[in-house]
């Protein structure tokens, strides 16, 4: 950490992590309801719908707070200047967290906009817009004052402005359901496959420059190509959500063709990362940060690229649309693309923010936490996928009524919940590890614990 104002990133990351924990708890409760009969009395008071609204809004809230924290950490280093208004940044965190908590409590009492993922009531939407404007103002003024522009900054700021503008399409009440969903996807799809990708690509490029020491010009050149492909396939690829909502037939062609190309930019990102890692200067230290970086890139490709591709063509999507197949893809893609991205950034930034020398930290329990979560999410997504394929066959193909087709799926939802327990354990361990980062243990101690044979570890920092 070189600049004092980077410190404002730390409380953002702490709040984001705590909300992440709560999100996973609610997710486990949701999965449980698929194989256990919840009594009518409980359902009347705390229905599945309320828990789902909380689960998804917590995800969006903590990912955005993570992105914002990352931005506040990254912008001073990129612009080589202090943040313009550090106090405003803290005020913005308080405002957004308070709005989020008010929304979550409101859901419990039935205060909702009632549209999936956009349940935050309209009065609170205005507060979100105010928070977003505070954020963009702060970042933009810092960049303009510094008069130093990089592609990383451009991608980041472009993504953040795009994100804020798209949010506006989710606010009005639409009389026509088809038109409603048409613009709902401008928020949801164009966020995750447009604006978020811009932010993510900027964060990844920044981390690759920091971690590998590969020249900025090389990383930024490929950043342009990646983003060009992401947006080329992603924008028109929105059409894969327009197949069955009452839109014209040509969306089956446009959506099918463009989204069939969507795995390529992700594949390019895997290749780029691989090349930068090969040309790195210096050792892969701290090891855990690298595990997160590479794990994120790989699971991003599997979850978003492959699992997405598996049901994006209209001929297949006709049977899988709105089934557990979507759930499977959604969980693995969000985890690989955005959860791991945020966590990687936290592992990069938090040791510096805590003032640990050289950004090194004691990694030991972090590796367990990573694998526990990663294997848990993978197992869960596979269980959802089996449930989804069964559902597509029984309900959509054979024509069984919904609840009849749900009976054989109960077992697989139970398997998903069992892996959810693994995820919860892993996430709690991750949060605990990140919030209590410590300097690495002295070399002799580390050698005995990690290497019982007693061979000496190579000197750190090489």
């Amino acid at each position: 950490m070189t600049y004092q104002t980077q410190r404002v990133a730390y409380p953002y990351m702490v709040v984001a992590l705590l909300l992440f924990g709560l999100q996973v708890v609610l997710g486990l409760w949701l999965a449980t309801q698929y194989f256990v009969t919840v009594p009518q009395g409980v359902v009347d008071v705390f229905p599945f719908s309320t828990a789902r609204a909380m689960h998804t809004n917590l995800l969006v809230l903590w990912l955005l707070l993570g992105f914002m924290g990352a931005t506040y950490y990254l912008v001073p280093e990129e612009t080589k200047s202090e943040l313009a208004f550090p106090r405003l940044a803290i005020g913005q965190l308080v405002l957004l967290t308070a709005t989020g908590v008010a929304a979550l409590v409101g859901f419990l009492f039935g205060w909702t906009q009632g549209r999936p993922l956009l349940e935050i009531p309209r009065p609170l939407d205005l507060l979100v817009v105010v928070g977003a404007l505070m954020f963009l103002f702060n970042v933009a003024v810092t960049m303009v004052r510094a008069k130093r522009w990089t592609a990383v900054q451009g991608s980041l700021l472009g993504g953040l402005v795009f994100l804020a503008v798209l949010y506006l399409f989710g606010i009005p009440f639409y009389r026509n359901l088809a038109v409603d969903w048409y613009y709902w996807w401008w928020v949801i799809h164009l966020w995750v496959e447009g604006a978020f990708e811009l932010v993510a690509a900027a964060m990844t490029a920044f981390m690759l420059i920091k971690l590998t020491g590969v020249e900025r010009t090389v990383v930024e050149k490929w950043l342009y190509v990646e983003l060009g492909l992401f947006l080329f396939t992603g924008i028109a690829g929105t059409g894969h959500h327009y197949y069955w909502l009452g839109a014209p037939h040509y969306w089956l062609w446009v959506g099918g063709i463009f989204s069939a190309l969507e795995p390529f930019p992700i594949l390019l990102m895997v290749v780029d990362t691989w090349r930068d890692v090969k040309h790195r200067r210096g050792p892969m230290e701290p090891r855990l940060t690298w595990v997160y970086l590479i794990g994120g890139v790989v699971i991003h490709f599997i979850g978003a690229g492959l699992f997405g591709m598996a049901h994006t063509l209209p001929q297949i999507n006709y049977y899988t649309h709105g089934s557990q197949v979507t759930v499977s893809h959604g969980h693995l893609a969000f985890y690989g693309a955005y959860v791991l991205l945020n966590l990687t950034f936290f592992y990069l930034a938090m040791p510096h923010l805590k003032g640990l020398p050289g950004g090194r930290y004691d990694e030991r329990s972090g590796h367990f936490a990573f694998w526990c979560t990663a294997l848990g999410v993978m197992g869960m997504s596979l269980a959802f996928a089996v449930a989804g394929v069964l559902q597509s066959y029984l309900e959509r193909y054979l024509g069984q009524p919904y609840m009849v087709a749900q009976v054989p799926i109960r077992f697989w939802m139970g398997m998903a919940a069992a892996h959810g327990v693994l995820v919860l354990v892993g996430v709690v361990a991750t949060i605990r590890h990140l919030l209590t980062l410590q300097a690495p243990a002295p070399a002799s101690e580390a050698a005995t614990s990690a290497n019982p044979a007693g061979t000496l570890p190579s000197p750190a920092g090489g």
Binding site: A53, P116, W181, L231, F232, A247, Y319, H321
Partner: protein
Amino acid sequence: MTERTAKWVFWGGTLSSLALFLALTVDTHGQFAALTRADQLDDTVVAGKRAFERHNCNDCHTILGFGGYYAPDLTRAYSRLGADAIRRRLAQPEVAFRDSYRKMPNQNLSREEIASLVAYLEWVAGIDNHDWPPQDSAARWKRSTDRLLAQAALSPAAALVQQEGCLTCHALGDRGERKGPRLEHVGARRSAAWIGDYLEDPQRLAPGSEMPDYQHLSAGQRQMIGEFIVAAAARGGER
């Protein structure tokens, strides 16, 4: 690749995709009115949409395939269940889903809300969305039911269904009305014995139902109607 080429890839890719997307958006808006029968989108239907959102129905149910995946898709709920069955589920879910292992919350809906929700679902069922979802494809039901009726037209049970006027409320194939649930849907969910019992006294198994009783038929006749309906259960894989 030079940085100049890379920038070209970025701007070329982004702007071409954006131009295509926006042009199609304009064209799509021109077609929505016809595809969604927007002329029938009156205030009652819109009130139904507001009630649907107020009670957060969409975080359990999907509609047009979007939403929570915890409860049945509602795109064609009206053509599958009919008005009366939807009303009963909304008014007293704890009764309608007494035997189900998954419950629906009772949200204490007003009479007006229930009426507007039925109107809303009726409007949604008419959206032309390329015959999705497959399990509710009217064309598929018609084909499978036609085949069945061709074989069973001379059966005594078919004659009973005709004679008792079941199709003045229920749909079967492309015939009948949408007041009660579609018979193929009933047949897929219930046993012949259950249907026989139900015909004897609908109020016992579904309190509040508008279905009349058929006590003037013999137990054997009621059982035969049950068998006919179970045999008519939607057949899959025949697109």
